[in-house]
């Protein structure tokens, strides 16, 4: 069976001031039709660059895809011409970006921006495109959609703008929706609305979703599987319940213990991951997390491969088996 999306050994670099930044280092993962996964990592982890490469949106130069393949429904997207890619982008794979204010054109009414997306990919009349735009806005819960399509982006709130972006992404019934931190710029109550909306739309429309997020808390209730990235590498992958219950990479463990729980009554000191993420301009030898890792051993000077670590799980840690019993970040093995 072919997967909906299969990313194989993908590496992306950027050139800046004579230095080579290794943003994504040979990542591989698959996902199936209708599945929802999350790619979690901090800034500089390569989580966004990885999906931009899937969309064919890496600016070249300075960016460059060094190696790998992105198979969408069996077809390698990296080999498509710009013309062919344009037919995939928006129609089969759509994307929602972080900041709805900068991703909408401020001087065009939203209706025009939606119909443009529809007419680019579907051979329909202007009237039909407009009807579809209203239908989509209605679907994402924008009140008075029929009248509001003449309004400009600034006339909407942040949450409404993100709804419009989602409507635009879904106009052509994509099979894969990539949501790149779609709620980061929003307030927590509006964030909950958007998460709820996306969940509803997925069960209604059945598309696959990749959530890109820095927030392990946010994706917990939204996805089935989580991929954790650190400095351009996938360090762990697991079904969502397993990941939160028993993380098998020290970085995931540290992240989970660095966030306070809203229902925690005590004020124990937060487990913090000391140090900083590595400088991506320098070649990384060994495990990228080793300098900050309390479980580092001499073996960590060699890059640990991402290996099977139980059913549906992968970990890139030499000591993943020993980590199974650890409940607190930093406690001895």
């Amino acid at each position: 069976m072919t997967h909906l999306l299969e990313v194989k050994d993908l590496s992306v670099t950027f050139r800046s001031d004579g230095a080579v930044i290794r943003a994504v280092n040979g990542i591989s993962y698959t996902m199936d039709e209708g599945e929802s996964i999350a790619i979690v990592g901090e800034s500089g982890s390569g989580k966004s660059v990885g999906v931009l490469a899937v969309m064919g949106l890496i600016p070249t130069p300075p960016g460059r895809i060094e190696s790998g393949a992105v198979l969408f429904d069996g077809r390698n997207l990296l080999e498509l011409s710009e013309e062919e890619m344009r037919k995939v982008r928006g129609a089969e794979i759509a994307m929602v970006f972080q900041d709805p204010m900068t991703s909408l054109n401020p001087v065009l009414p939203i209706g025009l921006q939606l119909t443009e997306a529809i007419q680019t990919h579907q051979n329909v009349s202007k009237a039909a495109a407009q009807a579809r735009a209203v239908e989509m806005l209605h679907l994402v819960g924008l009140p008075n959609a029929a009248e509001r399509i003449r309004d400009f982006p600034f006339q909407f709130s942040g949450g409404q703008r993100q709804r419009i972006m989602i409507a635009m992404a879904l106009t052509c019934n994509p099979r894969l929706l990539i949501a790149d931190e779609p709620t980061t710029a929003l307030d927590v109550t509006i964030q909950a609305q958007i998460v709820e909306l996306t969940r509803e739309l997925q069960s209604k429309l059945g598309m696959a979703i990749i959530w890109i997020s820095h927030n392990l808390g946010l994706v917990a209730g939204v996805v089935e599987r989580v991929i954790v990235m650190y400095s351009g590498f996938i360090v762990e992958e697991a079904p969502v319940d397993d990941l939160y219950e028993r993380p098998l990479h020290p970085y995931t463990l540290g992240l989970l213990h660095a966030i306070p729980h809203v229902d925690a009554r005590n004020q124990e000191r937060l487990a913090s991951i000391e140090g900083l993420p590595p400088d991506l301009r320098r070649p990384i030898s060994g495990c990228p997390f080793a300098p900050r890792c309390p479980y580092r051993i001499t073996q960590c000077d060699t890059l640990p491969p991402l290996v099977e670590a139980g059913p549906g799980r992968r970990s890139a840690c030499w000591r993943w088996e020993e980590l199974q019993g650890v409940t607190i970040f930093g406690e001895p093995l």
Binding site: E42, S43, S157, G159, Q160, D187, V188, T189, I190, Q191, A192, Q193, V195, E196, H214, N215, L216, G217, L218, A220, G221, V240, D241, Y244, G254, L255, L256, A258, I259, P260, H261, V262, D263, A264, R265, Q267, R269, L270, A271, S272, I273, E274, L276, P277
Partner: protein, 347 residues
């Protein structure tokens, strides 16, 4: 709103209002006002951290700025260490500022990129003419060590540091004059998750070591619960609930607090799937034209006719002896007693 037990307040805020005029037309006549902060009262006790939470536009940052008098208040009173600073002339206020400092949200824009770490941290000492040049240099060293920066980097520029390290520079600058009160306006929200914990731990160490009092403004509720002793929840320019942190988080009495808390994602997929969430409809109304009666009533699932006409005062629910629990809701008692979750259980 202070009871006899609550007298050791370092900062007292009484009926604070900050309105921004809306001007229109050729003559720039005032046609209205954005009531960013509209009658806020609370105390901050010596040595405590008061968390101030709410959505964007609720007035939490404006409140912080007005307390430090970095913004002109429209009316109301702010007392710092027993002195009514709201009436101070600017010259006297300036002398006062060495005791009250601010840590800003964005460690990228709050540090001058053309100044070295040394000149950034020493600046408050120069402004307030504290110490001799040699003493100031020694103090900068000491401060850098205190916040966990290597003093050897004293001549580097902000761009040479990461976000978390820059926030440490901002903290060192705020501490230079030995202030007793610090307002942190979202001091960690621009930082990565693994760095947030480092900075939060640093802030609590400093508080203990130096006996500081914090006003911690944030929208990340789990971090606020973690760092605060008491928590005030703001909505549309008003405080709607104020109590110690466990009361606010475990027994919220205001429907807005309940909705806000239920919107916070929990990093536990099993619990996240089964728990009931209150999803608030719509957006926060404009503070230029707040709703009548209770400001939350258009979004409140429990609103009655009374709520749309009568503005509920902030009142103390606690029975004598118990810790105070201030709530601005007509039906707060019922929310406290029953574990109300569905709209039809109250009518």
């Amino acid at each position: 709103m202070s009871t006899p037990a609550e007298t050791n307040a370092l900062v007292q805020v009484r009926d604070l209002k900050v309105h921004f005029p809306i001007r229109k037309g050729l003559l720039r006549r005032q046609v209205g006002a954005v009531r960013a902060v509209d009658g806020v009262s609370f105390d901050i006790f010596k040595g405590e951290t008061l968390g101030l939470v709410g959505e964007s536009g609720c007035g939490k940052s404006t409140t912080g700025l007005a307390i430090l008098r970095l913004l002109n208040m429209t009316s109301g009173q702010v007392t710092f260490d027993g002195q009514d600073i709201s009436a101070f002339p600017e010259s006297r206020m300036r002398a006062m500022r060495r005791h009250m400092m601010m840590i800003f949200q964005d460690p990228y824009s709050s540090l001058n990129p053309r100044m070295t770490v040394n000149s950034i941290i020493v600046e408050p000492l120069n402004v307030f003419q504290i110490g001799t040049p040699a003493e100031r240099a020694e103090r900068v060293r000491e401060l850098m060590e205190l916040v966990g920066l290597n003093p050897a980097f004293v001549n580097r520029y902000p761009h040479e540091f990461s976000g978390g390290q820059r926030q440490r520079i901002g903290i060192a600058r705020a501490l230079a004059t030995n202030p007793s009160f610090i307002v942190g306006d979202e001091p960690i929200s621009a930082l990565d998750v693994s760095i947030q914990a480092q900075v939060v731990n640093l802030l609590s160490d400093l508080k203990r070591k130096l006996g500081l009092t914090y006003l911690f403004i944030a929208h990340d509720l789990s971090m606020v619960r973690y760092i605060s002793d008491r928590v005030a929840v703001m909505y549309l320019g008003r405080v709607v609930e104020l109590s110690n942190r466990n009361t606010v988080f475990d027994h919220p009495a205001h429907p807005y607090t309940r909705a806000l808390l239920s919107a916070v994602p929990i990093a536990n997929p099993k619990r996240e799937r089964v728990r009931q969430r209150i999803i608030l409809e719509g957006d926060v109304p404009s503070p230029a034209n707040p709703p009548s009666g209770c400001r939350f009533h258009p979004r409140c699932a429990f609103a009655t006719a009374e709520c749309s006409t009568v503005d509920p005062p902030l009142r103390n629910l606690a029975t004598s002896g118990a810790e105070s629990h201030w709530v601005a809701c007509h039906y707060a008692e019922r929310f406290i007693q029953e574990e109300v979750s569905a709209p039809d259980t109250i009518a």
